[in-house]
Point group: C2
Chain length 350, copies 2
DNA sequence: ATCCTCCTTGTAATCGATTCCACAAGGAGG
DNA sequence: CCTCCTTGTGGAATCGATTACAAGGAGGAT
């Protein structure tokens, strides 16, 4: 593989001149420039990014550590992150933590060893030591989706509170009173937050959230199945189950089906995180949709701002309720009369 | 960030000794070793992978260029690739080509610029110039899933021929005679291959595959929708539509539903590539499942073999048919009687 | 006591870029 | 005609590691 020296020799100039041509430095004669360009072309020369990074102390690379690539929400996030990063001239290296703190730590470590310019993290647990260390050491960093309280790092996330209120209003309107939730891990902010928002929304309608109706999940399908089975075994099972992410909703659907029960006739189901597949399940699933693409793009912009010396602030975007059929038939749309809905709610075309 | 010099100073030895300790070189005195280790600990030193790569001319990194991360098949592939690579001491950088040749070229270029040790590619089109160049230049490379004929690079893929025969047998057994296919791009091997296998299998039953029953798709949901609409507009629409990948199957499901028709009563549907969601659609979709995880792992092993000077051969793994309900109710399982099925077929528990 | 090994260690070259500094050539201005 | 500036160029230092080579010291054999 040709190096800058080969190009310099071929063009009959010094390596300094080659470097200047390649980096658009102004003081190079037109003659030298054309000779260098011709040599580059002839040799098929491409600069060695490793050497360049060593010298310039920047890699133009972002690290993204996410909890679970197989979760469509995070896949979409990763995709939008890569797109925006590419537009800004950065590459992205993705680390999949699989909801395992040790793997998260592994990825943070190797990313840091590679001297990435900045780190985008959706922390799995309370935060791995390496990550906290990096944050303290001043590595440009932004939390996305989940975050760690008390760590001074901007957070780009979506606030589901209003959408959860809309959901509860929707369920209440359909006549449901016994509502249960499959929670995410208490170690994650999103795990706690969604339960809190749900409890709060129920409170506004004078509904309780008994402990028996809070199932502990781990954001994976298996836990959704187990928790739902527990709900169904209750002397008085809930009328609707709200899963705190899409994979647990999938598990819940499994569990209900395995009992030979039907959704929504026997039990209703709603999920946090909307994904394309929810349109095609039986029945289509009512869900709370995050603006995933916007989240990814905003996170990259905040991170690059930090890297390039600008401020890079936290961003919170609203989520919205998408009503489908998994909690019962929505009443036929009342034509031209004021909507009783507390905030605009998208009704998806089935 | 502490460098090897800082460690050397702290430990009172030369950088050479530090390097020897860190790389497990035998001739280091126990005394020096403990002092170096203490200094490393005290400074929180981590070797700079960029500098190391420059010197050793290896990055211990694999590049993976796939056609579409949002496609669950490729997501799973990427995940298994990363897992196996990690087990072998390599990192993976993923490039998402989004079925766009220009993007594929972009990613191949940046990966090569980073001097990755080897490249895993699922080519989008006939092959970008950069990629062919790299293959010719001897960059260790392995094709996975798709490949480019005439390029001397090992291919790790799955052979769907037998499974497609099983599928046609299944459809024929259900009484279906008018079978159509939504094909993938003709520029991809998988695009062509699946049509060929389908046509061949139909031929074995004396069934034709008229041009009107071959719809040109691009492996994206939108094309599945359009093609299916075309099929439904035919004077004599097909009885079953076979989509060459899961996203186009999703689009087909959309199109059928938009017409107010039902699967499988009005039209049957089958797909290449099985994904978890197919269990939960209405109805569950009959699909051909590739051993995706095995494919990813085998591809990494072949690539690493090449990188480390071993041979690294092509691998072909069989796909298998998973019968669900989207092509019509399978006949109630005939109890203890010889199965008429030409090869073992998995019947999924719904 | 002398010489030869073996073990440990440090010095310095190297990987492929970028960039500071010095210098030469040529034009402008006095 | 001499100075001063500008412009273009090359030499060499540098980034942070690895590693060939040389050298010093300890211990064993003669």
């Amino acid at each position: 593989m040709a190096s800058i020296k080969d190009v310099a020799a071929e063009a009959g100039v010094s390596v300094a001149t080659v470097s200047r041509v390649l980096n658009g430095h102004p003081s190079v004669s037109p003659d030298a420039r054309t000779r260098v360009l011709a040599a580059v072309e002839a040799l098929g020369y491409r600069p060695n990014a490793v050497a360049r990074s060593l010298r310039t102390a920047q890699t133009r690379t972002l690290g993204l550590v996410i909890s679970d690539v197989m979760n469509p929400y995070f896949t979409e996030l990763a995709r939008s992150v890569e797109e925006e990063a590419r537009a800004l001239g950065y590459s992205v290296i993705i680390g999949n933590a699989d909801e395992r703190p040790d793997l998260q730590d592994h990825h943070v470590t190797t990313l840091l060893d590679r001297r990435i310019d900045g780190l985008l993290v959706s922390p799995t647990d309370g935060g791995s030591p390496r990550m906290l260390e990096a944050a303290r050491a001043g590595t440009p960093m932004v939390f996305v989706d989940r975050w760690i309280p008390g760590v001074d790092v901007p957070v780009v996330r979506s606030d589901g509170r209003a959408a959860v209120r809309d959901l509860v209003a929707h369920l209440h309107g359909l006549g449901h009173r016994r509502l249960a939730i499959i929670a995410g891990p208490a170690a994650t902010t999103t795990g706690r937050e969604r339960v809190d928002a749900f409890r709060e929304a129920l409170g506004a309608y004078g509904l309780p959230l008994p402990d028996a109706y809070i199932g502990q999940g781990d954001f994976q399908a298996g836990s959704g199945r187990r928790v739902t089975e527990g709900f169904l075994d209750l002397p008085e099972p809930p009328e609707v189950v709200f899963a705190a992410d899409n994979l647990m909703a999938l598990g819940a659907l499994d569990a209900v089906r395995a009992r030979g029960l039907r959704v929504p006739e026997d039990i209703g189901l709603a999920a946090f995180d909307d994904i394309p597949w929810f349109v095609h399940t039986a029945p289509p699933v009512t869900a709370i949709a995050q603006p995933t693409g916007d989240l990814g793009r905003a996170a990259v912009r905040a991170l690059v701002d930090r890297i390039e010396g600008r401020t890079g602030e936290s961003v919170t975007l609203p989520a919205r309720l998408v009503v489908r059929r998994s909690c019962g038939e929505p009443a036929p749309a009342p034509s031209p009369s004021p909507s009783p809905s507390p905030s605009p709610v998208q009704r998806s075309t089935p």
